[in-house]
């Protein structure tokens, strides 16, 4: 239910202890996520009285509070929004991760789903979700899908669902791939599975349920036990505002790297840096026409493909 409305901002009640702030319309516009991060940083730098914590989404932030009226938070946020300056750079690390497409563990998850939950779902035909994603987007073959996944950096918009699970969005809109989620959802997913739901990529941090179509598997992104050096500072690999770039490996290589992660022999490839928002926004118009054409082709294929 709407608590207050401003230009480009909707405040919604989320019970008596949380307020959901939404920006813009429901579109895959990364500028909305940049804005979310700017507002979240401002809230963390100068938390208003009663704010317990914040949880960003793609175009929204949930504010948990205690002992204050939501109106006081809305007033505080109005002030942040009024003073918000367009940021030109966002601190952003680049994390390079190997991916083994259509590996045996994710195929096992698909098979288990088909055996125990739903046999007739179009997304599990052939014991894999990959062919369904190919078909839904009108790709000529699997290779064309893999090129789209590998051909862009993924923007980690926020972390959520389970501990350390990054929700990631392609920075190059020409490589955007869409797919509907499972219906109903899956009860088992292997650790490290790379999933796609709607336009959003995720990496499963622990064995868990899930609803995204599975493309393959990468390395661990969460380890509370700190078996690898990268997890000793924080049990979570990916932070909001990081970028992830996948490169392709065969499954036996991935399994070897997986072991090396746990044995603390693997060093994650992480580059510190910043993301140049200005340059990015200047670049977008130059590829907009091409992105639009590809999108139209994918929409057409989607319209002809059954939904789970």
């Amino acid at each position: 239910m709407i608590a207050a409305q401003r230009a480009g901002v909707t405040y919604r009640y989320a019970g008596d202890r949380a307020l959901l702030v939404e920006y813009g319309e429901m579109e895959l516009d990364l500028r909305l996520n940049f804005r979310v991060h700017a507002v979240d940083d401002a809230l963390r730098a100068d938390p208003p009285a009663g704010l317990v914590e914040t949880a960003p989404g793609f175009r929204s932030i949930l504010l948990s509070y205690d002992g204050v009226r939501p109106e006081t938070l809305i007033e505080h946020l109005d002030g942040i929004h009024d003073g918000l300056e367009e940021r030109l750079e966002i601190p952003s690390r680049l994390i390079r991760l190997p991916v083994a497409f259509d590996d045996s563990e994710t195929r096992k998850a698909v098979r288990r789903y088909a055996d125990t939950i739903r046999t007739d779902a179009p997304n599990v035909e052939g014991g894999t979700n990959v062919d369904y994603v190919v078909r839904y987007n009108g790709f000529a073959d699997r290779e064309e899908l893999y090129e789209a996944v590998l051909g862009t950096e993924q923007w980690a918009g926020f972390i959520g669902f389970f501990p350390g699970l990054p929700f990631m969005f392609p920075l190059d809109p020409r490589e955007t791939v869409f797919v509907p989620k499972y219906n109903p959802s899956r009860t088992w997913t292997p650790e490290g599975a790379v999933g796609l739901g709607g336009p959003c990529y995720s990496i499963y941090p622990v064995e868990s349920a899930g609803g995204y179509q599975l493309l393959g598997r990468t390395l661990p992104v969460y380890d509370l036990r700190g078996r690898n050096a990268v997890f000793r500072e924080s049990p979570l690999l990916v932070r909001p505002g990081d970028r992830v770039r996948f490169h392709r490996v065969e499954e036996d290589e991935l399994l070897r790297l997986f072991e090396n992660v746990h044995a603390d022999r693997y060093r994650y490839e992480i580059e510190d840096g910043t993301f140049d928002v200005g340059a990015y926004l200047d670049w977008l118009p130059s590829i907009a026409a091409e992105a639009g054409e590809r999108r139209a082709r994918r929409d057409q294929a989607a319209a002809e493909t059954p939904v789970p």
Binding site: G15, D16, M26, E53, A55, L62, G160, P180
Partner: protein, 322 residues
């Protein structure tokens, strides 16, 4: 330091604390903590513990343990036979338990589904990420991040306090009323007024697949205000992934799920209503077979007032004096 030795673990017994693991929503951690915060807090209060002390959450009873030193214990929650060395003791009241004694909780036949054990001094397992609450899916908190089993030993803090009963014992039923506020995503943007009316009038059956991540409900289908979820997916329940509050009535396709303390922090489904904080405790007492839920729409003003009254009933000054 004294200890508790588990003799029978039951189907799911975990160490919990209140309000659980806060400040980590943005990293994907829901708070964990007791499903029924009222019974849990009452049990702590009755043994003279500070509110953040850790205790046990027992699912459906059939649990027993031995204490290593004289202590004060309180069991609050679903109706079940509770004994100390075979002699029956009352619920919602603290009792002395001597060193080497065995406290046993029999089967909880209902109404209600969970029981909470407060022990003077609190369960003294090390906090993980700021809390002792067990979150089994993330394998953290409590004892090794898991449910307890026979043979487990838990360290216990120092004991203090006097036996006393709890005055504001809540009523347990089979057909529960949960007060909830509309939204964040309700009518007219996502659902129709007819959908909201159905949500707030129908008696929803609690599905057997309910657990600490969520209470699954059955009983109706929605007509939806939108034709599809647009870029977020084919089904009109789909939205671009966003954060969820505890108590969210999350509509997964056509299945409403009330998100509980171990649930997902974010996802891509509409949240039609949110259970108010003062009624969240009821999630812990819903029996997954046979119980029903009716949502009653309330306002933020009433929610705040009910929460204040609940806090008031848990103040030490409000305990009955024997």
């Amino acid at each position: 330091m004294s200890a508790v030795e588990i003799l029978e673990g039951g189907i799911q017994t975990t160490v919990q604390d209140y309000p659980g693991r806060r400040g980590l929503l943005a990293q994907g951690f829901f708070p964990a903590g007791p499903m029924d915060h009222l019974a849990f807090r009452a049990a702590n209060l009755l043994v003279g513990n500070p509110e953040d002390a850790a205790g046990l959450e027992v699912t459906l009873g059939n649990v027993s343990f031995r204490v290593g030193a004289d202590t004060l214990a309180a069991v609050c929650g679903a109706e079940a036979p509770v004994t100390v060395d075979g002699a029956e003791v009352p619920l919602w009241q603290s009792v002395q338990v001597g060193a080497g004694s065995e406290l046993a909780i029999g089967p909880a036949r209902g109404p209600g589904f969970r029981l909470y054990v407060g022990l003077a001094g609190g369960i003294d397992v090390p906090p993980v990420l700021g809390s002792r609450a067990t979150y089994t899916m993330g394998a953290l908190g409590g004892l090794e991040g898991r449910s307890l089993a026979a043979g487990d030993r838990l360290p216990l803090g120092d004991a203090r306090g006097q036996p006393q009963p709890f005055a504001a014992r809540p009523e347990y039923v089979r057909d529960w009323e949960l007060r909830a506020m509309r939204g964040p995503q309700s009518a007219p943007d996502f659902l129709t007024e007819a959908d909201m009316e159905m949500l707030f009038t129908r008696a929803w059956s609690v599905n057997p697949n309910s657990n600490r991540t969520g209470i699954r409900l059955e009983g109706g289908t929605f007509e939806w205000a939108r034709r599809s979820g647009g870029i977020a997916g084919g089904h009109p329940s789909n939205i671009l992934d966003n954060p969820y509050p505890v108590g969210a009535v999350n509509i997964n396709g056509d299945l409403p799920v009330i998100l509980a303390p171990d649930g997902p922090t974010a996802g891509g489904f509409v949240v039609a209503a949110t259970v108010i904080h003062a009624d969240l405790w009821k999630l812990g007492q819903l029996r997954p077979v046979g119980d029903t839920v009716r949502f009653r729409e309330t306002t933020i003003e009433e929610a705040v007032e009910l929460d204040r009254a609940l806090d008031e009933s848990l103040r030490p000054e409000c305990l009955e004096r024997p």
